[in-house]
Symmetry: C2
Subunit: 128 residues, 2 copies
Amino acid sequence: MTCAAENVPFTPGQARACTVREVLDRVGGKWSISILVSASHGPVRFTELERNVEGISRRMLTLTLRNLERDGLLHRTVYPTVPPKVEYTATPMALELYESLVALTSWAERHRRAIAEARTRYDAEHAG
Amino acid sequence: MTCAAENVPFTPGQARACTVREVLDRVGGKWSISILVSASHGPVRFTELERNVEGISRRMLTLTLRNLERDGLLHRTVYPTVPPKVEYTATPMALELYESLVALTSWAERHRRAIAEARTRYDAEHAG
DNA sequence: CCGTATCCATTAAGATACTG
DNA sequence: CAGTATCTTAATGGATACGG
């Protein structure tokens, strides 16, 4: 990502915002979090994820897994058996991320209703 | 967003992942965070944001502001003066979100180097 | 000053079929 | 079992011009 504020911060807040954006670029994909969460409870196999992560296609599962592996958030272990077996394990870094997602989750749970109401209100007010 | 796990949670972890996804859907846009951060230090005007948020276009600024307003994260005050003046203020809810983004920021700062290295390593290993 | 409208490029993601 | 390949659609964002 281009993160110019990182080099010449306009304000301290901007630099921080940019850092957060980097996280979101990594984790903001539609499926990344569900996968990370699944993997945070122990090694998971491909098919297992396919069942756990509701609605994901094979293609997106593969793509997301590759990206998470590339960023060092998941470790991929191939057992050269027949039939093949592949296990995905959350790295320590990913486990730390999971921890810090808890704050976000708690925020979302506290305010999900307020947000839904705000939306409804806004849409109603801007209908005419 | 369709969040089936919310109704019939497959695993507790899944339901949480879905909640986090809801936050990200709200805040995961390219510019949302920078704008929220700018607004968290006091009311800001449109043009001010246009200057603060580096690289943003007028169109995207407007769109993102509307979405944040719709979700109840920003409050929009129009002063019917000439020339017009509009101020955007972070709501208490948004200020709380800012707080919880700190955990994410700190994670990103701690691991940004490791992630970059992981990427380089991965790309090198998968070149041939 | 604070936007809207329109058009276009890029990317993310879904559907489906095939394979070591 | 664990993927790839190909095609298509939907969403996102940028450029530019115009308007109250």
